[in-house]
């Protein structure tokens, strides 16, 4: 057996902050603590922008190019593994699309919130001045619908994790905590080595996220 690193620290932090912030966002909206809801939304926005950057220039398993596969790969995966095929490190072809779907709906969720207006016009997203009242109301409706879609995707995600955990005996939850996976020594496809420029790439992603969140949350008014 060998231990291979599959999830880097930034991805793990991103992953676990997300459910915390989504829970808090839901709670703050339910209790009409709209200042907190906005702050929480900005934090999710930051996470999302970071994730998009990391999907472009982060470590191998975080990159969209490494896990967004064509329909043929997805079908082959669903039909079952070929004997002697190398074990998958990172997202499998089906899981990759589930990640993409989650990120997409999350983008709609955060994006609609930025422009949403509430019924009495007292509370609104930081970019709502760019849209009409009626458009802001429609985006508030979309914000609600997309949250329900997000919940459905989260449910699918959890069921899938449980299935892998118990039916397949794959310890996905632990792997997302410590970042490693145990594999038979020669059965895995070799991962490209971590590039030495990773810290610079990380700084670039964090910096870009911070700047974007600052600009958007201030409504591009400076």
């Amino acid at each position: 057996m060998v231990k291979v690193k599959i999830w880097d620290l930034p991805i793990r932090i991103f992953h676990w902050l997300l459910p915390l912030l989504l829970g808090f966002s839901w709670y703050s909206a339910e209790t009409r603590a709209m200042d907190w809801h906005r702050y929480s939304g900005y934090a999710v926005l930051g996470l999302l922008i970071f994730r998009l950057c990391w999907g472009l220039w982060g470590s191998h398993s975080a990159r969209f190019a490494s896990f967004i596969k064509g329909p043929a790969s997805v079908l082959a995966y669903v039909r079952g593994p070929k004997p002697l095929a190398p074990a998958i490190v990172g997202h499998n072809p089906l899981g990759g699309w589930s990640v993409a779907a989650l990120l997409l709906v999350l983008t709609v969720q955060v994006g609609s919130g930025l422009f949403a207006v509430d019924v009495d016009g007292l509370e609104s997203g930081p970019l709502s001045r760019l849209v009409s009242f009626d458009a802001g109301r429609s985006l508030a409706d979309i914000h609600e619908v997309s949250f329900n879609i997000l919940l459905a995707l989260v449910a699918v995600h959890l069921v899938a994790i449980l299935w892998y955990e118990f039916a397949r005996k794959e310890r996905l939850v632990m792997a997302m905590l410590h970042g490693h996976k145990q594999l038979d020594s020669d059965s895995h496809s070799s991962l490209p080595p971590t590039p030495s420029s990773l810290p610079v790439r990380l700084l670039a992603a964090l910096g870009l996220s911070a700047v974007m969140v600052y600009l958007i949350s201030s409504g591009f008014r400076f």
Binding site: D120, F133, R221
Partner: protein, 160 residues
């Protein structure tokens, strides 16, 4: 003679039925118009309120825009207080999509008081605007918004 009487009776019944159907339809159309136009008026009220806020958030608000939105808000708030946007029968029982709650007609006095309060706040908003104090305008704008919320919290169905 008997035959003719019967025919007259038949005709009368038919006429009565038609009249009832027509009246019913007219009534429904009427309710629909009342409900839809008050909703569109409220959306315009929301637009005026938001328009003021959008300007106030700018570093240099365009006064001509602020004035226009304050005027429009004043007109709508006046109409909301003085015209009957909520005649009896224009609640959920009309079978038309509305967020107006039956409690409006059960606590009519309190509801009417809030309608008038909004009107008064709008008049004050115009006065503050005339004084030219932009900070006071922002405060008054917020105070007025609280009346919208106060009324919605009790009399409007929250759909989420």
């Amino acid at each position: 003679m008997v035959e003719k009487n019967r025919q007259v009776k038949k005709g009368a019944v038919l006429l009565a039925c038609t009249a009832m159907v027509v009246a019913g339809l007219a009534w429904a159309v009427d309710e629909q118009q009342v409900i839809e136009s008050r909703q569109s008026n409220y959306r315009e009220l929301g637009g005026a309120y938001k328009g003021i806020r959008d300007e106030l958030q700018k570093r240099k608000p365009l006064m001509i825009m602020v004035r226009q939105h304050v005027d429009q808000l004043g007109m709508l708030a006046h109409s909301q207080a003085n015209a009957d946007w909520f005649p009896a029968g224009s609640g959920p029982e009309a079978g038309i999509e509305t967020e107006a709650l039956p409690v409006i007609w059960e606590q009519r006095d309190e509801f009417d008081r809030l309608r008038e309060e909004l009107n008064q706040e709008a008049i004050m908003l115009a006065d503050v605007l005339a004084s030219g104090d932009m900070d006071a305008l922002a405060d008054q704008h917020r105070a007025l918004g609280m009346v919208c919320k106060q009324c919605h919290d009790v009399y409007r169905l929250e759909d989420d």
